[in-house]
Amino acid sequence: METDLTYVKNLMALATGDEKHDTSAHSTLDVLWVLYDRILHYDPAHPYSEKRDRFVLSKGHGPLAFYAILAAKGFFPSSALKNFETWEGFLGGHPDRNQVPGVEASTGSLGHGLPMAIGIALALRARKSDRRVFVLIGDGECNEGSIWESILLAGNLALSNLTCIVINNHSSTLSLGNLAEKFTTFAWSATTINGRSHTQIEQALSQRDPQHPTAVIAEIAR
């Protein structure tokens, strides 16, 4: 289903209350839109179908773009966005898989989603599934030790069904240097793209290295 990005932005405007994470929500918007519009295999009517690709929003913060895209794609009614972060709603400040259809893993505390995505990728490999696992982390999240444990592990395991998207909106307090080079050193296939260019996003996410996990560093001007 083709989705108009303007429609997604209008859905995001329905939700208020998380202005502190506005930058975070908008930094992921283009990547998530291309991912759900052109890359992922899924069926909102059967959100847990074995045939689906998996996506984990590791950083959890600023999930509004994620929620708006899930609503636009039919996982739940778009009217739910009006109750974002309210007592009556089920769309919290960090996504809860037990409440939100289409959310694979509950996240929010930084550094948890990538390890879980590795577990999902290992499970799919054990079942000989050809489905892919995508996980989105933030550059600030790359300060967490568990992220580097996981990058080391996924490279060692040669998890070719795993793609890690790093939204680099330069929010990290620490200098991260050249992230693509770092991933490559840990036995990943890595590329750096403009995180607002839908053509570059689609091209990078379509590719799958048959021997290594894939990292896509999506640069976002702050």
Partner: protein, 295 residues
């Protein structure tokens, strides 16, 4: 011939692996050599020394329908990845099995970084976390088979020290060892080996606890003939006091707690020397009971 809990763990996990395709094993180097028969299979992994990621990866496999079994030494299975246990398993309501080795000061020569006296106390704070404290190898096997696939995160506290006598145990249930009038003594896991000789001629109820959470309040209420309750735990003392108070609600009770004291243990030596140092021997426990009951 009796075997250690650790060897029993390997036998039990190997057997379940052969019969239940949902079972997956995840290690962080500890005991990797013992599991060499499984580590070549697609459902068993030695991930290396990265315990936060270890628990997260296990949660990812649980999200896909596997029943993960994770094993390491207490501080590296419980305390370092505590937030992963909390968020990834308890908050997500995922089933998983966490088997520790090195209870309290089992690794007595290694110093406090390798001690594990605080595990039950911190895990008790997690909603939905089940906690078992087997006293023998066969009790470990029994409890594990009962609980491993029940859909909740479950901790199994293995220890080097074991009870000399087997008792019939059921997950989530206290075992009534004997009944008496002067006091009710709750002995947790391998503490029973100290409690039985300490109370040999005493008119007391002895309840054997191998599941710390969920705590069997019903049996405590039904079996207790006294308001004097003595809790003997092989980890930091007093962890189950809130459960006892909740079980005996509206009934005034006197409680004595015996276990590992909240202090830094700076000596090395043997576990038996630590037992002597903190008065966790049958003789010392008897003196504490006699003082409490003013005998």
């Amino acid at each position: 011939m009796t075997i250690s809990m650790r060897d029993q763990m390997v036998q039990t996990v190997e057997d379940l692996f052969a019969h239940d395709e949902r079972v997956a094993l995840l290690l962080a180097d500890i005991s990797a050599a013992l599991f060499k028969n499984l580590l070549h299979t697609p459902r068993a992994f030695n991930l290396g020394i990265l315990e936060q990621t270890l628990i997260g990866v296990a949660a990812g496999m649980a999200l896909e329908g596997y029943i993960p079994i994770v094993h390491s030494i207490v501080p590296f299975l419980v305390e370092r990845p505590f937030e992963q246990l909390k968020d990834d398993f308890c908050y997500q309501r995922l089933g998983g099995n966490f088997i520790s080795t090195g209870a309290s000061y089992d690794y007595s020569t290694e110093g406090m970084t390798h001690h594990g006296s605080g595990d039950v106390q911190v895990l008790r704070s997690l909603p939905g976390m089940q906690i078992t404290v087997p006293g023998t190898a066969s009790e470990f096997d029994h409890l594990f088979r009962e609980a491993y696939a029940n859909g909740s995160p479950t901790y199994y506290r293995m220890s080097f020290s074991t009870n000399p006598i087997e008792h019939p145990v059921r997950f989530g249930k206290l075992t009534v060892v004997q009944q008496g009038r002067a006091a009710t003594i709750i002995a947790v896991g391998p503490a029973l080996a100290r409690v039985l000789p300490a109370t040999a001629d005493m008119d007391v109820t002895i309840l054997y606890c191998t599941t710390a959470a969920p705590f069997d309040a019903e049996t405590l209420r039904a079996a207790s003939q006294s308001n004097n309750i003595i809790l003997v735990e092989p980890y930091y003392e007093g962890v189950l006091v809130p459960d006892i108070i909740a079980a005996m609600k509206h009934t005034p009770v006197r409680i004595e707690t015996i276990g590992v004291p909240h202090q830094v243990l700076s000596h090395y030596g043997t576990p038996e020397q630590h037992d002597q140092s903190i008065s966790f021997t049958p003789q010392a426990i008897r003196r504490r009971i006699e003082r409490f009951l003013q005998l």
